[in-house]
Amino acid sequence: MKPILEISHVSVAFHTYRGLLEAVHDVSIAVGEGETVGIVGESGCGKSVTAQAAMKLLPAGTAVYSQGQICWDGQNVLPLTEREMNMLRGREMAMIFQDPMTSLNPVFTIGSQICEGLRLHQPMESRCAEEMAVGLLRSVGITSPEKRLRQYPHELSGGMRQRCLIAMALSCSPRLLFADEPTTALDVTTEAQVLSLLQRLQQDMGMAVVLISHNLGVIARMCRRIYVMYAGCVVEEGTASEIFYRPAHPYTQGLLASLPDPDHPGRTLTGIEGQAPDLFHMPSGCRFFPRCRQAMHICTHAVPPVYTVGEGHQTACWLVCPERRRS
């Protein structure tokens, strides 16, 4: 399958008052047409930065794309101008953000915010846009959409606002949707509704979805392929079943061990000791070794290469190094 989005060896850094800070290091991610891909990792591991980098949404003055390329349909988007990017944004790829409370402009009505995006990409009468907006709101399960159109964001609940954001993102039928922790700010029942809504829309519209979450349960339910990120790097990628049943990287294993398992109630949950490293004091060698129970001498000074451990299943860990198996 030919990927529509291909992020290859991308590093992103930010100018901060303490100097250049690398938030994402040498990340490669590919998304095929109509595919659902999950990115999982702790907060601060660079998931959102990766997604925003793909749409070039990072603040232009402070973010630096130091290496690699991001290809949309085979074309590298990094050299594109802001104007050219705006042709892609919204129409080809769209994004849903984490916090529905702050992601809507408080001084415009829901309707005007949806219609703005619609009319931007397909010139049309404002009445026509409004009709489309009503249809969109209905399709994301909002009752009495005509009324909601005239309301302001602060008049709606969090779940409702997230649905509006989804409607907004879907307005131009994008081919790829980034969902950046779409349910983190919502309560559990709303979370389930929003997830199944996303799933349904994805099947109906045949778009690709990149789902970003720190919640393995959410990822497992939705995604066919999974990328595990740690401290700005992809440490393991593979199909959902490979990741869940044959995790190769100690970090993935740790993540899975910290999940409660309904089949084995009473099992002690084991977390991963320690904290994610400070991005300014990145450990040499493998970034995970200070917290890794199976760390070896080599991990302290050499960056692990990517090894293939199964069908479409790769990991960056010295444990699976063939030479180690031999010795």
Partner: protein, 304 residues
């Protein structure tokens, strides 16, 4: 590759490096150091204050020494800033003006601070009906044109240094009261105050250890920015003849004296005006820098 490389490392050797969390004060100070404008502001303020305190002692003239032979002399080595129409040394008068203008700024903002913190603190802490009543009074006073009242007060009190302190101090505390009250109200709802309460911390301790330190940022910023306001207002008062009485002179008095002779002796305006504007700039840069440094979340003022 060396087989030993693949042996597990000995965990017991490794000690997690402990990085102490940064205090707000330290972070604030570091932020300030980054902000060059704010540093310059601080330098100006310190230099001006030092000059105001020490300057007049070191100078060979006093602010009232008249020497009609030397009247309206242009700047020279004897009189660095020249002399005024009565032959008084302008450099010394500007230094004395610094004393008066700065003392007005500091005194007025101190009075604002005390009234505002007590008033706003009571309103915020008491809450309920007391709060509503106190704040209603503030709202009423807000719609009174304060500059007019300072002028009226000065007319009633007779021009004079102490009277300026008082008039400015009792006219401009409203803003401080609002900010303190807003801070206290929002702090009262903060989780960490609730958390402290739920641990059984006494009200007094909550106040001293949690609330006051967290209020200090906006209060200091407001105070810093109210100093140039007071200096400014005094300059206006001086201009309409309601400032300090002669032969004392604030920068405002000096500048308005200078305006009358701007065509023949422009230096008589330039020096006091530059001193005044520099100080205003200094306080403003310092205040802006403090705001950026002490308000990491960039909290908005509560209410409008």
């Amino acid at each position: 590759m060396d087989a030993r490389e693949f042996e597990p490392i000995d965990r017991s050797e490794r000690v997690e490096p402990y990085v102490p969390p940064q205090k707000l004060r330290e972070r604030g100070w570091r932020q300030m150091k980054k902000n060059r404008l704010a540093l310059w502001g601080m330098v100006i303020v310190i230099v001006m204050t030092a000059a105001a305190i020490a300057g007049p002692w070191l100078a060979p003239y006093t602010y009232a020494d008249q020497n009609l032979v030397d009247a309206n002399a242009w700047p020279s080595s004897a009189h660095w800033f020249g002399t005024d129409s009565l032959g008084r040394d302008l450099f010394v008068r500007v230094l004395y003006g610094a004393r008066i203008s700065l003392s007005i700024g500091f005194a007025a903002s101190l009075i604002n601070f005390f009234i505002g913190v007590i008033y706003g603190g009571i309103a915020g802490l008491a809450g309920g009906r007391t709060d509503r009543m106190l704040m209603h009074i503030v709202d009423v006073l807000y719609s009174i044109p304060m500059l007019l009242y300072v002028i009226l007060l000065m007319v009633v009190f007779k021009p004079g240094l102490v009277n300026i302190y008082i008039a400015l101090g009792i006219a401009y505390w409203l803003n401080m009261a609002r900010i303190v009250r807003g801070q206290i109200l929002s702090l009262k709802q903060q989780e960490y105050v609730l958390a402290a309460r739920s641990c059984g911390t006494s009200t007094w301790n909550v106040l001293c250890r949690h609330m006051i330190p967290n209020c200090m940022g906006p209060i200091i910023v407001t105070m810093t920015l109210s100093i140039p306001d007071a200096i400014f207002t005094e300059a206006f008062l001086s201009f309409i003849g309601l400032g300090v009485s002669a032969p004392m002179a604030s920068w405002g008095v000096l500048a308005s004296e200078g305006i009358s002779s701007i065509r023949s002796f422009p230096f008589q305006l330039v020096f006091p005006a530059v001193a005044l504007c520099l100080t205003m700039l200094g306080f403003m840069f310092l205040g802006d820098g403090l705001r950026d440094a002490l308000d990491p979340q960039n909290q908005k003022e509560a209410g409008r």
